[in-house]
Symmetry: C2
């Protein structure tokens, strides 16, 4: 096989993978947003079947041959072509470790687990969910073992979400956050609590939907390229730069919940929408890693979305939709309410200050789960114990405890640390961005465009071409330093609470 033949074969394989991945993505999005409850088993079968074809094509001998041909001629290739071959090799190396039957059965399991989790969460019925989680954990441990039996299994899993990430980085990272932030959390708890009573009123959902339109407009996301659906646990799915889907969740008594879901998911969407045209349909489309993805979502959600200037821009539109509920509420009052910091139960609703403690709890649990130190039956107890110990809150039921997140149900173990890492990256990106452009002038002007252009140049447009480390270096203007994140939080909450 010549290099040109290998490149041609790679392009053809990408077209095949694109079609199957697209179909699987739409099946998943549909399943999570609008499909009827009882559709799960048949969707599981179809998902398993189509995943099996992907497995077959990626593990096929000719795929190995084209990868070998390309990587043997690595210097002669463009960086994009070399990276395509490397990414394919990574997928192939992993899939080759899993027999096709086992892989398909796992995909079917995940499709069903998702439905079981939905029901179990609503009913706060951990026992119904436990057998599925058991199997998901077993699969992931087995996979980690096969990939590299010499390393701790959880380290192997972390690497799939962030190349090169291990507990050796994360242990001190979370230890720093815990050590530095806990005193602030305790100090804040002693201060007068900002008034949030005006948020605890009915904000009719059909009006909240109209507000979503306005948020999308400010974020500069065209509905022609990005749809907004509704689901139990908000997420974003991107098929290509002209087809991205946000799924949010409306709570009648919590208007900010949807707002920050949309801004968070909007950050993910802007990343997917910003990947360069030339990478569309290739293995370079999509985001570089989950931490980079979360750096974008958490950037928009918190650094921009919970800033005073952004609140000022939103308030008139919110008041127009909810005049009674927001009578007498000014920007300062809304800003303080939107930045209320206090230990709480739900990660996705948590304030910036306590957020990474929620993530740390999941990190510790997953490490123990995958390390074999924590059985599935003991997860709720351990979850509740950690929330008590680290955040001082009592978990009243599993719905608001260990059943709150969807991640394990789609097989993502090792994903959670991305949220804390991404949050920390974002702070450095903002500091770097402020040196280049008038960030707050743009926000005050009601358009996030200049911000998205800046991030687009440094992150979005590169898709998966660059590694997370390269992107962090480029967007942060220097090496990663979690103290900057800690300092940002101390400053912000110190000022807010007059510490």
């Amino acid at each position: 096989m010549t290099v040109n033949e290998a490149l041609k074969a790679l392009g053809e394989l990408e077209a095949v993978l694109r079609a199957y991945t697209h179909a699987l993505g739409v099946l998943n999005y549909d399943g999570e947003t609008v499909a009827p409850r009882n559709s799960a088993p048949a969707r599981g079968e179809t998902t398993a079947f189509l995943s099996g074809i992907i497995h077959q094509r990626v593990t096929a001998g000719e795929t190995g041959e084209l990868i070998d041909t390309l990587l043997a001629n690595g210097e002669g290739l463009s960086p994009a072509d070399r990276r395509r071959a490397e990414l394919l090799k990574k997928d192939r190396d992993e899939l080759t470790l899993i027999p096709a039957e086992e892989y398909m059965a796992y995909q079917q399991l995940l499709a069903e687990a998702m439905q079981v989790w939905h029901d179990a969460k609503l009913a706060s019925d951990y026992a119904a969910y436990a057998p599925y989680l058991e199997k998901i954990i077993a699969y992931n441990r087995r996979l980690a073992q096969r990939k590299d039996a010499s390393k701790p299994a959880y380290d192997v899993l972390l690497d799939s979400y962030e190349e090169g990430l291990t507990h050796a980085t994360l242990d001190p990272f979370f230890a720093l956050l815990h050590r530095e932030l806990t005193p602030v959390i305790l100090e804040v708890a002693k201060q007068p609590r900002p008034d949030t009573a005006f948020l605890n009123q009915p904000y009719p959902i059909h009006l909240q939907r109209l507000f979503t339109d306005r948020v999308m407009e400010i974020m500069g996301i065209s509905r022609d390229d990005c749809a907004v659906g509704e689901t139990e646990h908000p997420f974003t799915e991107g098929f290509n730069r002209h087809d991205v889907r946000i799924a949010t969740h409306y709570h009648e008594n919590s208007v900010l919940s949807n707002l920050y879901s949309v801004v968070h998911e909007g950050g993910h969407a802007l990343y997917e929408l910003g990947v360069a045209e030339e990478y569309q349909g290739t293995l370079l489309s999509g985001g570089s890693s989950m931490s980079i993805h979360e750096s974008q979502s958490r950037f928009y959600e918190n650094l921009i979305g919970r800033s005073r200037p952004f609140i000022e821009v939103l308030l008139p539109d919110l008041k127009a939709l909810f005049p009674d509920q927001l009578a007498g509420v000014d920007a300062e009052k809304l800003y303080r309410a939107a930045n209320l910091a206090e230990p709480s139960l739900i990660r996705t609703e948590a304030d910036e200050l306590t957020y990474s403690i929620h993530v740390m709890i999941r990190y510790e649990l997953e490490k123990a789960m995958i390390g074999g130190d924590l059985g599935v039956a003991d997860i709720p107890g351990e979850w509740n114990r950690m929330y008590r110990e680290y955040l001082g809150v009592e978990v009243p039921d599993d719905r608001r405890g260990c059943l709150q997140d969807s991640h394990w149900s789609f097989g993502a173990i090792g994903y959670f640390p991305s949220y804390a890492l991404g949050s920390a990256y974002g702070v450095q990106m903002l500091e770097n961005m402020e040196r280049d452009i008038d960030v707050w002038g743009a926000v005050r002007g009601g358009s996030l465009k200049p911000i998205t252009v800046w991030l687009g140049e440094r992150i979005h447009r590169h898709g998966r071409l660059l590694t997370p480390a390269q992107l962090v270096e480029s967007a942060c203007g220097g090496p990663f330093d979690p103290h900057r994140y800690v300092n940002y939080l101390k400053d912000k909450y110190g000022t807010l609470y007059g510490l």
Copy 2:
């Protein structure tokens, strides 16, 4: 190949076709309901690719071999297995006539045509749509020619929606409807028009959505098996008996439009939901023909949905949601308004009396289009002329004229007659049903269950096992007689308008 081997191969092929058809169905449903506008080209590529695999599998040599083996041993097979083989042969015979490349290009064309039609309809811009329609017509003429060059091309297309149907049946059928119904339409036009002013008010869409829930409940359709989405042109898509999708359309100023969309699509849904468990995932799942499908949808929509007892059941719920809009409206007033008969522009909104004239116009147009007597550029003019001649209405723009329906955009030419045929079948089914069960007692009791059970037994549960003719015979209790439909309409409107 032994018969047992052939049956095994058939089952395996069905599993493959089920997965691809399921994925294509979800891609289509998603595309028609929630996908962003610019998603169409990439969806078209994926659709074409997956359709290409279906083409490849159905036209493969081994498929021919299994069909030959089974049909050569036809008498030894169960009726279900024989029918599975026959249906597969029908698909194979058709696909074999179309080169894979051409078939895939056509699927891509359809995915794009659908989006172009959406935009063209909104903008009333026929010129933007015409090049796509041109290609769709050319493809269908070519296909008909290949299938049977000895027959009129339109007859060949009709056969794909209703086995054995030709112009020799439809010409006199529509002539009868035209001859018999036109005098009634003219007579009705001279009578005082019922008061419908109360319908022309804002009925907020978020409240109409709640009313949909109630309608689904009365119809006995579980949301666990059937979702309701929103789209430009209402339709139903069924994947299996636990996953059916209705897509409706809300108009703020027309509360009955959504009601009758949901009842109509609900009829389709009940059919798909009622196919026997043992046929799921085989070629026998789904409906027998489009006429039979439309006989069910039009049955619920009109014979039940526009009946006085059904209106009586709905009114209290409607009044609870829309007390101001319906103040002073009683069942008789709503019944008369819901059965207002007058020549109008939009088929899906038309009353029962004028409905089949709308269908006849499409029939005449398609016959001329496919017969080569009518060019694409001349369709709007001819459409408008026929609406003037047959219904006496002036078409103000193509949005409310020849761009109103989605059918041509998904390649369905020859489908429209099913609506009139199905409507006529329904009347005979009702007369037959009334001999067996207390239809109106059930409706008054607020549950359509006994009606659905009756239809389920005679039609739904058989899926595609029986031919349309067998189903008509069984459910109508005798041969098809369009005079019964005509008499029903004359009686109903004669009474309503005191003729």
